[in-house]
C-alpha cells in the first residue's frame, strides 16, 4: 500500500511538473475539462484532430513527439471521435525498437483495433517477433496485444510461441501466456484442445500468481465439463487450505486476508465440482468450514469470501453444519447497515432457501425492509428472492408489492420483466379468479403494451369460462365484477391497446348480462373507446364487434334497439374506413341489427363463447363412402406430406390422358402473375350474382373454359351468366386472363391450366356442391390442428360454432351449395359429403371419386394442388380480399356455394375474434390463406338437419334449382 501511495504522489507531481507532455497537450486537456457545453468540447476536439492529422503526416516528427500524438489520439477517441486516420501510426509504433514507444504502440492498437481489423495483419508479424524477445517487458506487451488482437484465424501464427512462454523464467510472462491461451480457448475451443493439459501443469507453478491465473481457464473448462476434472478436487481443496492457512507469501495478503481473489476463484470451482456429488463434497466440508471461521467479517473482501463460501455451500452436497454457518453469515449480512451487504445477503438467502426453506422465516422482517428500501438494486434483488419464495399462500402480497413497484419504475426493460413475472405468478398461484382478474387488470393498466398478448387472451378465456365447478352464480358474479371494474377503468386516459381489447370483449360479451347496465350505456362507453383510440384499428375492431354483441343481445331479449347517434356515426365512419376489416365489421353490425330476433339469436348466441367444438378428425362416418368411391375407381388419398410436385404431375397424368403435363407447363403456370387470392372471391352462385352483384362475375368465364373440355359438366344455372361474361377482363385477378382462355377450349393447355388452378374459388363455385371442390381447398391436417390450438389460445375457446352455423342459414338465403355445405358438416348426415375439416383439404384424392364421371374435376383436382402452391405465395392478399365477400354476403346477394367462406365470415363476425389478427397470424403461421377457411369450417360444424332443410326451401323459393351436375348430392341433402 505504501508503494501505491508513492506512485499516486508521483503521478500527481508528474502532471504538474510537465511529465514530458507538451504545453499544448496540457492546454488541450484543460480546455476540454473546462468546456462548458458539449458543442464547445466538440469544437476543441475537432480542432485538435485537424492539428493531429496535419502533424502526423509530417515525415520528420521526433519520436518523443510521436508518442505524445498517439496518446492524444487515444484521448480523442475516448471522447467519442473517430481517430482512424492515425491507426496506421500506432501500428508503425509497435515496430519501434524503443521499449517505451513500442509499449505505447501496443497500448494504442489494443484500444483502437478489434481483432478483425484490416491492420491486424501488419501487427501479427511484429507480435511474433516480440514474443521471442529477450526483454520480458516486450514479451508482456506482445502478450497483452495477443489477448486482444488475435482472432481465430491468426491463433496458429502465435500459438507455438505462446505455449513456449508457459515455461518462461519470469512469472509475469507465464501468467500472461496462460491468459493468452485462455483467450484462445474462449475464441475457439478447438484451437487449443490439445493443450489443455498445460493448464493442469501450471496449477502446480511455484508462483502463486501464476497458479491463481490458471484458475481462470480451469474455471471455464470445468463449467463446460465437470467430469473430466473431478480428479482435481483434492488438489483444489489442498490449495485452498494452504491459502486459507496463510502459507502464501505475505505480499498476497490483502486487507489482512490471504489471497482473497484466489480463495474466491477456488470456492467457485469447488462449487461446480461438488454439485450433486457427495463424495467430492465431503473433501470440501472441512476447508469451507475453516474459511467460515477464519474470514474477517469486518472487511469488504472478507465478506466477499464469505459470500462465495455460501454460494459454494448451497451448491455442493448439503452439510448441516455448513448450512448453519452460512445461515449465520446471512443473518449478519441482512442485519448490517451496509446496502452492499444486505444485497449480498438477499442474494445468498435466495441460494440457501432452496436447501432449507425455513431459513427465510427468521429473516422475514429484514427482507421486507429490503423490499421497501429506496435502493433500486436492492429492491430488485429482493423481488428476485420473493419470486422464488412465492407460494399460493403469499402470492397476493408478493404480487401486490411487485405491481406497486412496477408502477413506480420507468425503465422499460425491467418493467417488462417484472410485469411478466407478475403475470406468471398470478397464473401459477392465483387463489381465486376474482383476484386473478383484478391483478391482471392492474398489470395491463400500467404495463399493457409490454405484456405478451397471450395474457390478454387468457384473461378473456378465464372470464368466459370462470370456475366451471362453482356453478353459474359464481361465474356471473365474476363477470359482473369484471364488467364493473372495466367500466370504472375505461375512462382512464391512455390505456394500452391489449387491455382495451379485453375490456371491449368483456363489455360486449357480458356488459348487459346481469341487467345492471343498459345496453345504451355500454354501447356509449364502447363508442367512446372507439373514438378515443381512433388510431388503433384493433381496438376499434373489438369495440365494433362488442357493439354488435350488445345490440344482438338486446334484440334477442325482445327489447327494441335504439342505436345511439354516436354509434350510428361510428358505423358510418367505419363503413368508409380504409381498413377492410373495420368496414366488414361495420357492415356486419348494420346487417345484424336489421335482422329479426330469432336470426340474431342464432348468429349471436348469448354467452356461448366457451362452447366446445368437437371435431372428429378421423371422419369414420365417411369410411363407407370412401370405400365405395375407391371401388368405383377413385384414387386413394395420399397425405399431403407424402406428395411432391412430381407425384402430382404423375397423378394428373394418370387421371387424364389428354393432359400432357410437362415440366414446361408447370413453369409456365408459376410465371403467371399472382392469382387473385382464390378464397377471397365472393362465393356467389352464378345465377343470382348475375342479377345482384356484377363484380365477381369475371370468374365464371374461366369456369366455362374448364368445363368446356367436358361440356356435360357445365353448370346449367350458371350458364347464362357465364356466356355473358365470357372473356370479361378479370377485376381481381390476373390481367392475362381474358386473352388466354378464349382460344383454348377443348384441350387443357398449360395456360388454361394455370388459370384453372389459380381460380380455385371459381372451381368451387361451379362445382359448388361437390365435395371435391371443398376437399380441394383444405390445407394439410397439421395446419388445421395448429389452427385449432391457435384459435383456442386466441379466443379462449370462446367460439360459438354450433349455433352460429345454422344462424348463417337464417340470415342469408343460401343456395343449395351453402346448404349442402352446412349439411355436410353434420355428422348425422349422409356420406357423400365430406365433413368440414376435410372439406378444405386441398387435393384430397379420395374425394375426387365422388364425381367419377366428370373428368375435368379430376383435372382440377390435380391442378388445385398446384394452385394452392400459388395461393400460398399470395396468402397475404387473402385477408383484404376476403372482406368484400362478406359484405356481399350481408347484402344477401350471395347465395353462394361457398359455404365455408360464408360461415367463416359469420363466425368471425360473432366471435370475439380479432379478425385481422387472426388473419395475419394465420398467414404468418401457415403461409396459407386458406387455412382460415378450414378454421371456419370447423366452426360451422354441427348444424341441424332442419336448418339446412329450411335453407334449401329458401333457396328453392328463390328460384334456384339444383345444378345438373350434382343431383345425387341434392337428393342426399333432402334425405
Amino acid at each position: 500500500m505504501e508503494q501505491l501511495k508513492t506512485i499516486g504522489r508521483e503521478l500527481a507531481m508528474g502532471s504538474q511538473g510537465g511529465f514530458g507532455q507538451s504545453k499544448e497537450f496540457l492546454d488541450l486537456i484543460k480546455s476540454i475539462g473546462e468546456a462548458r457545453s458539449k458543442a464547445e468540447e466538440e469544437r476543441i476536439i475537432i480542432h485538435e484532430m485537424e492539428t493531429l492529422k496535419r502533424r502526423l503526416t509530417d515525415p520528420d516528427i521526433p519520436k518523443r513527439k510521436m508518442k505524445e500524438y498517439i496518446i492524444r489520439l487515444v484521448y480523442v477517441e475516448m471522447l467519442g471521435h473517430d481517430a482512424s486516420f492515425g491507426y496506421i501510426h500506432a501500428v508503425k509504433m509497435t515496430h519501434d525498437d524503443n521499449l517505451l514507444l513500442k509499449r505505447t504502440g501496443y497500448l494504442a492498437v489494443t484500444l483502437f483495433l478489434n481483432e478483425d481489423h484490416d491492420l491486424i495483419i501488419l501487427i501479427v508479424n511484429t507480435i511474433q517477433k516480440d514474443l521471442k524477445s529477450d526483454n520480458y517487458l516486450i514479451v508482456c506487451a506482445a502478450l497483452n496485444a495477443v489477448c486482444r488482437l488475435i482472432n481465430e484465424e491468426t491463433i496458429p501464427a502465435v500459438l507455438p510461441q505462446v505455449v513456449e512462454l508457459l515455461g518462461h523464467s519470469k512469472e509475469a510472462v507465464r501468467k500472461k501466456a496462460i491468459m493468452a491461451l485462455h483467450r484462445f480457448h474462449q475464441k475457439s475451443p478447438s484451437s487449443i484442445s490439445h493443450l489443455l493439459s498445460n493448464f493442469r501443469k501450471r496449477l502446480c507453478d511455484n508462483d502463486p500468481g501464476v497458479m491463481g491465473a490458471t484458475l481462470c481457464p480451469l474455471f471455464d473448462l470445468i463449467t463446460t465439463d465437470v467430469h473430466s476434472y473431478k480428479d482435481l478436487v483434492v488438489s483444489f481443496v489442498s490449495i485452498l487450505k494452504q491459502v486459507a492457512e496463510r502459507r502464501l507469501p505475505k505480499s498476497y495478503d490483502y486487507h489482512q486476508m490471504p489471497a482473497p481473489f484466489i480463495q474466491i476463484k477456488l470456492l467457485k470451482i469447488l462449487a461446480l465440482l461438488g454439485a450433486g456429488d457427495k463424495q467430492a463434497s465431503e473433501h470440501m466440508y472441512t476447508v469451507v468450514g475453516d474459511i467460515f471461521k477464519k474470514c474477517d467479517p469486518l472487511s469488504n473482501i472478507g465478506n466477499a469470501v464469505l459470500y462465495q463460501s455460501i454460494c459454494c455451500v448451497s451448491s455442493i452436497y448439503p452439510n448441516l453444519k455448513l448450512l448453519e454457518a452460512a445461515a449465520d453469515v446471512i443473518s449478519r449480512f441482512l442485519k448490517s447497515d451496509s446496502h452492499n451487504l444486505k444485497y449480498m445477503g438477499i442474494d445468498a438467502l435466495g441460494r440457501l432457501i432452496k436447501l432449507s426453506p425455513d431459513i427465510a422465516e427468521q429473516h422475514q422482517l429484514a427482507v421486507i425492509d429490503c423490499m421497501e428500501d429506496p435502493d433500486d438494486t436492492l429492491k430488485r434483488k429482493t423481488f428476485e428472492l420473493l419470486y422464488t419464495m412465492t407460494k399460493s399462500t403469499n402470492v397476493e402480497v408478493i404480487v401486490d408489492r411487485m405491481i406497486e413497484y412496477m408502477i413506480s419504475i420507468t425503465d422499460h426493460h425491467y418493467k417488462t420483466y417484472i410485469a411478466s413475472r407478475c403475470v406468471k405468478l398470478a397464473e401459477e398461484f392465483a387463489p381465486n379468479n376474482h383476484w386473478f382478474i383484478q391483478t391482471i387488470n392492474k398489470v395491463f393498466e400500467h404495463a399493457g403494451d409490454l405484456v405478451n398478448i397471450k395474457v390478454a387472451h387468457d384473461l378473456m378465456r378465464l372470464i368466459a369460462e370462470g370456475f366451471r365447478e362453482d356453478g353459474d352464480t359464481v361465474d356471473s358474479e365474476l363477470r359482473s365484477s369484471a364488467v364493473e371494474s372495466y367500466l370504472r377503468i375505461i375512462g382512464n386516459p391512455k390505456l394500452p391497446s391489449a387491455f382495451l381489447q379485453v375490456i371491449c370483449w368483456v363489455l360486449g360479451e357480458y356488459g348487459t348480462a346481469d341487467g345492471k347496465y343498459s345496453a345504451s350505456y355500454i354501447a356509449g362507453k364502447l363508442c367512446d373507446v372507439a373514438e378515443a383510440y381512433s388510431n388503433d384499428e384493433s381496438v376499434k375492431a373489438y369495440a365494433v364487434t362488442a357493439l354488435m354483441k350488445v345490440y344482438a343481445f338486446e334484440k334477442m331479449s325482445g327489447r327494441t334497439v335504439d342505436i345511439l347517434p354516436e354509434c350510428q356515426s361510428l358505423i358510418e365512419e367505419l363503413s368508409a374506413s380504409n381498413s377492410t376489416d373495420l368496414q366488414q365489421r361495420a357492415y356486419e353490425l348494420q346487417a345484424t341489427i336489421g335482422l329479426d330476433a330469432e336470426a340474431v339469436g342464432n348468429i349471436m348466441p348469448a354467452d356461448a363463447s366457451c362452447e366446445d367444438i368437437e371435431i372428429d378428425k378421423d371422419l369414420p362416418f365417411l369410411n363407407s363412402y370412401v370405400q365405395r368411391s375407391l371401388e368405383n375407381g377413385a384414387q386413394p388419398y395420399i397425405p399431403e406430406s407424402q406428395r411432391n410436385r412430381m407425384d402430382d404431375i404423375s397423378a394428373i397424368k394418370s387421371l387424364d390422358q389428354r393432359e400432357t403435363v410437362s415440366h414446361g407447363l408447370r413453369f409456365e403456370a408459376y410465371e403467371l402473375p399472382k392469382p387473385p387470392v382464390p378464397t377471397s372471391i365472393p362465393p356467389i352462385s352464378p345465377a343470382i350474382s348475375a342479377e345482384l352483384v356484377p363484380v365477381p362475375e369475371p370468374y365464371h368465364p374461366r369456369e366455362t373454359h374448364q368445363s368446356t373440355s367436358e361440356p356435360s359438366v357445365s353448370d346449367d344455372g350458371a350458364s347464362q351468366v357465364k356466356l355473358r361474361l365470357d372473356g370479361v377482363q378479370k377485376k381481381w385477378g390476373r390481367p392475362t386472363y381474358s386473352s388466354s382462355p378464349g382460344s383454348s377450349v377443348s384441350t387443357s393447355t398449360p395456360t388454361q391450366k394455370a388459370v384453372n388452378g389459380v381460380s380455385q374459388v371459381d372451381n368451387t363455385s361451379t362445382v359448388s356442391s361437390k365435395p371435391t371442390s371443398y376437399a380441394s381447398r383444405t390445407p394439410e391436417p397439421e395446419i388445421s390442428l395448429e389452427k385449432q390450438k391457435l384459435a383456442a389460445s386466441l379466443f379462449g375457446g370462446s367460439s360459438k360454432p354450433e349455433k352460429r352455423a345454422p344462424s348463417a342459414a337464417h340470415k342469408t338465403p343460401k343456395t343449395h351449395h351453402g346448404a349442402n355445405k352446412v349439411h355436410a358438416a353434420k355428422t348425422t348426415v349422409v356420406p357423400p359429403e365430406v365433413p368440414p375439416p376435410d372439406l378444405l383439404d386441398l387435393g384430397e384424392a379420395t374425394v375426387t371419386s365422388s364425381a367419377p364421371s366428370i373428368d375435368p374435376f379430376m383435372q382440377l383436382e390435380g391442378l388445385l394442388d398446384e394452385s394452392q402452391v400459388l395461393s400460398t405465395e399470395n396468402s397475404k392478399a387473402v385477408g383484404p380480399n376476403k372482406e368484400p365477400d362478406f359484405m356481399d354476403l350481408f347484402y344477401g346477394t350471395t347465395l353462394s356455394g361457398q359455404g365455408s367462406n360464408f360461415v367463416d365470415l359469420l363466425s368471425s363476425n360473432k366471435d370475439d375474434l380479432d379478425f385481422t389478427s387472426e388473419m395475419s397470424k394465420v398467414a404468418a403461421k401457415t403461409g396459407q390463406g386458406e387455412t382460415i377457411v378450414s378454421n371456419s369450417a370447423q366452426f360451422s360444424k354441427g348444424p341441424n338437419v332442419k336448418a339446412s332443410l329450411e335453407k334449401d326451401a329458401v333457396v328453392r323459393q328463390m328460384g334456384v334449382n339444383p345444378t345438373s351436375q350434382n343431383p345425387n348430392l341434392f337428393k342426399d341433402l333432402l334425405g
Binding site: 508503494q3 501505491l4 501511495k5 508513492t6 506512485i7 499516486g8 504522489r9 508521483e10 503521478l11 500527481a12 507531481m13 508528474g14 502532471s15 504538474q16 511529465f19 514530458g20 496540457l26 486537456i29 484543460k30 473546462e34 519520436k63 518523443r64 484521448y75 475516448m78 467519442g80 471521435h81 524503443n98 521499449l99 517505451l100 509499449r103 497500448l107 478489434n114 517487458l137 497483452n144 491468459m179 485462455h182 500468481g209 491463481g212 491465473a213 481462470c216 490483502y254 486487507h255 482473497p260 481473489f261 484466489i262 474466491i264 467457485k268 469488504n300 465478506n303 466477499a304 459470500y307 462465495q308 452492499n340 428500501d373 435502493d375 438494486t377 436492492l378 430488485r380 426493460h413 425491467y414
Partner: protein, 170 residues
C-alpha cells in the same frame, strides 16, 4: 469476466475507458452515456451495485464507486463476485487515483488521469488481463509497474519520466 473499466467524472465526461470485448467508438460512447444516466440518478448511501442488463445485455452487472468528482465503474458478468469487484476498484486501481486526488485540486485531478493515461493502462494491464483478474496483490502490481518504469528509463534515451522514477526509487 470483466467487460469494462470506466472512469468518468460526475458530469458524465469519460476520463478513462477500457473495454475488454471490442466495442466500436459510437457504442462506447453510448454505453458510457447510459451508465452515467443510471449512476447520476442514484441516491447516496445506497448499494454500489447496479443491474446493467438493460445497458450491457444479459448477464451483466455493474459496480461503481463514487469518489470526489469521479465515478469508477466496473462492468462484469455473473462469474465474478460483486463484493470482490467492488474491492478491486476500491483497492489497487483506485488507491493510485485516490492518492493522486489527494494531492491536487479537483479539476487537475481529473486531468491527471489523462496525463498518465498510458501509465494507468499499464497498471490496469497488470491487474486485469483479457477480462480476468490476474494479479490482485497490490505490491506485485506495483513491483511490476516499477520494473517497467525502470526498464523503460534504462532503454530510453528520451528520459522524460526520470523524475517520476527517481521518486519511486526513493
Amino acid at each position: 469476466m470483466i467487460r469494462s473499466v470506466i472512469v468518468m467524472n460526475t458530469e458524465g465526461k469519460p476520463r478513462f475507458a477500457k473495454f475488454y470485448d471490442f466495442q466500436p467508438i459510437e457504442k462506447q460512447q453510448e454505453l458510457i452515456r447510459s451508465v452515467y444516466g443510471v449512476l447520476c440518478s442514484r441516491a447516496e448511501n445506497v448499494s454500489n451495485f447496479v443491474e446493467a442488463e438493460s445497458i450491457f445485455g444479459s448477464d451483466s452487472r455493474l459496480v461503481y464507486k463514487h469518489f470526489a468528482t469521479l465515478y469508477f465503474v466496473l462492468v462484469f458478468n455473473s462469474s465474478e463476485n460483486e463484493l470482490a469487484m467492488l474491492d478491486l476498484i476500491q483497492g489497487p486501481t483506485l488507491s493510485v487515483f485516490v492518492e493522486t486526488l489527494d494531492k491536487c485540486f479537483k479539476n487537475v485531478c481529473e486531468l491527471d488521469l489523462v496525463f498518465n493515461y498510458s501509465k494507468m493502462h499499464s497498471i490496469l494491464d497488470e491487474i486485469i488481463s483479457g477480462g480476468q483478474v490476474l494479479e490482485t496483490s497490490s505490491s506485485e502490481v506495483m513491483k511490476a509497474v516499477e520494473e517497467i518504469s525502470k526498464l523503460e528509463t534504462a532503454s530510453n534515451s528520451i528520459n522524460f519520466v526520470s523524475k517520476t522514477v527517481s521518486g519511486w526509487r526513493g
